[in-house]
Subunit: 380 residues, 2 copies
């Protein structure tokens, strides 16, 4: 085996539904003809907005009153960019998880926002710590414009925000008035345990204003295909015009062809449930193989938590070694990962590793763990 | 006939190559499989960069040393947005044509740039006036970061920048040091006369530094399909890393599926030459029908120039009437257009109309001119 990479963040390529996309494309072009290839509304194609609204309501990931609540974006990365543009002036504060998703840090930083990281643990964002940070920001006269979380199987930590913390986060949004952005690419990839309601779904049941402050970002990237570049923002009405204006200036609209392909595939319930089950069972097998191999090959040198879904495992070097130092010897040993520092605004990720388990087979994952063990031994 | 719209800016829908895109998609998915649907490089797919480089060099629209000079964008609108982000801080000056393309004004304004308009005439941007404006800006210590032109069949004026002005514009870029951005969606739609070399092609022959300051934006929107959302920026090497960083934060990358479809269609020379000939002959017939009908139905009340390509005709109300006033009565008469004010930073477009001739048949264009005549008569 050549280099074994746990460093990516890609869906398993063999599970990308090439044949289903081929038939969907043929159907879309035969049914919609020139409409698939013409300029299109900035808000998105009605067919996609409808099926996203239906699926979100069904899965309780996000409260959707009507399809108009859904704005289509060019991947959910663009949702982050549009929110930053619509809400942030240079110097405005955005609170992110630390460790957190790099692409979000880039999108917010590009708008000149000042990023403040709040720690996470096995139950996701430390909402108690967030509360202290907010108090300080309020005293300083700089309350945040946005608090950004990946509540399900976070990238990179894999952690899922506990239900009580979700409620407390909504309490804080209502009290302080920031926009709470839940980015949910991985929620549908749960392969163990029961799903938790999304923040926008929880907010809908409240009368304290939290529902008017909560945005849900979604994408087909991890459930159908990242290459379609189709995502969406489910946002309160007051925020939508600014998002649409920003999108118009950015790329006019997302491809109607890829939107209609996505809508066609998402609307095929039989296909989607079988396809998601296949993704989940594959990822469960791989996550378990990685966890087992780390336990048997590396032992107590790397600590990991339970993996119940998503694509990532977050390891901690129990001896306090530097993951960046480990990375250098690991490459020589034929295994790659992403050192935790890359995801943090401070040095709290120093001894952490992000391990992506989606693209290697169980055998390869076993071999990767073995090489990690060799690398770690050579370090100490 | 219901409302006849000269207001759009859409390619003729019946000329969108639905069947060719269908076969291209089938080929792409069969050939590239998961690669079409996976995450992809921010710079773009190699196949598309290659064919764009080849076509640009062949058509002398833009000098391309190598495929790496080409960065793929999500439509050329995104090229504008990325240039604004890469080059402009709030308050920086961007010079645009007045009248000029609205989407560009929006993209530059979104970055907080200060827009300054320079007039155009039948030979495009008034480069003599630009020179005066530049002198003033230099004295004020605020030379522009970008000068933006649509040199071929400009939107909205339809004007093409004369060759001597192209050279003078490059002189100014070299002397002042601004980035000269040529946006060229319409160059391939010339249906009369000889094409002029693009600014980046002209710059390549110079040794004064202009070639390192000239960017060419292109797109498949008017020659294949706007719905693919595939464009490109051909940019000097020093500028490309900043554009790539901005794109990464914005949408990670453009859809590999639509990129590979675009590459497949563009690489089919036989199809492309026949398809472009069909677009050109159709648009020529429609442009001529509109010009003839305006002459016979409206007469000297509307002045227009020669139409040699593109999608737009720019009319001037010879009596100095307000085009916005005309618009209101025109709608009642069953014909729509865009009043010139929408494209100008000052009131110089007050008596102008943008008339798009691409989506109506010759008969409909005749009827539209007749209704315009009725509306104009009712106004005076």
């Amino acid at each position: 085996m050549g280099m074994l990479s746990l460093a990516g963040g890609l869906p398993a390529p063999e599970l990308l539904p090439v044949d289903r996309v081929a038939t969907a494309t043929a159907t879309v072009l035969a049914t919609h003809g020139p409409r698939s290839l013409q300029y299109a509304p900035t808000e998105g194609m009605a067919e996609l907005r409808e099926i996203v609204a239906t699926r979100a309501s069904h899965a309780a990931t996000a409260h959707v009153e009507q399809a108009e609540d859904v704005l289509v974006t060019t991947g959910s990365q663009q949702g982050l960019d549009l929110l930053a543009r619509a809400l942030c002036d240079p110097g405005d504060v955005v609170v992110v998880e630390s460790p957190g998703y790099l692409g979000a840090l880039q999108a917010f930083a590009a708008s000149g926002a000042r990023l403040i990281g709040v720690a996470t643990d096995a139950d996701g964002l430390r909402v108690d710590e967030l509360e202290q940070v907010l108090d300080g920001l309020i005293v300083a006269g700089t309350p945040p414009k946005i608090v950004y979380v990946v509540a399900n199987f976070q990238n990179p930590s894999g952690a899922t925000l506990a239900l009580d913390r979700r409620h407390r986060l909504l309490d804080l949004a209502a009290r302080v008035g920031f926009v709470l952005v839940e980015d949910d690419p991985y929620g549908a990839l749960r392969f163990r345990g029961e799903p938790l309601a999304g923040l926008r779904a929880l907010a809908a049941g409240r009368d304290d204003g939290a529902s008017g402050l909560t945005v849900s970002l979604g994408t087909v990237s991890k459930i159908v295909s990242p290459g379609l570049r189709v995502g969406w923002a489910i946002a309160p009405e007051w925020l939508r015009p600014a998002l649409v204006r920003a999108k118009q200036a950015t790329d006019l609209h997302t491809s109607p062809l890829t939107q209609l392909i996505a809508a066609e595939v998402l609307a095929d319930e039989g296909f989607m449930s079988a396809h998601l089950e296949q993704i989940r069972s594959t990822y469960r097998e791989r996550a378990d193989a990685l966890a087992d191999a780390l336990a048997s090959e590396v032992g107590p040198g790397i600590e990991i938590g339970a993996i119940d879904g998503g694509m990532f495992c977050w390891g901690r070097l129990a001896g306090g070694e530097s993951a960046t130092d480990l990375f250098e010897v690991a490459i020589d040993a034929g295994v790659a990962f992403v050192p935790g520092d890359a995801f943090c605004l401070d040095d709290s990720g120093r001894s952490h590793l992000r391990l992506c388990f989606t693209t290697l087979t169980p055998d390869e994952l076993g071999q990767a763990a073995s090489r990690l063990s060799i690398a770690l031994s050579s370090l100490t």
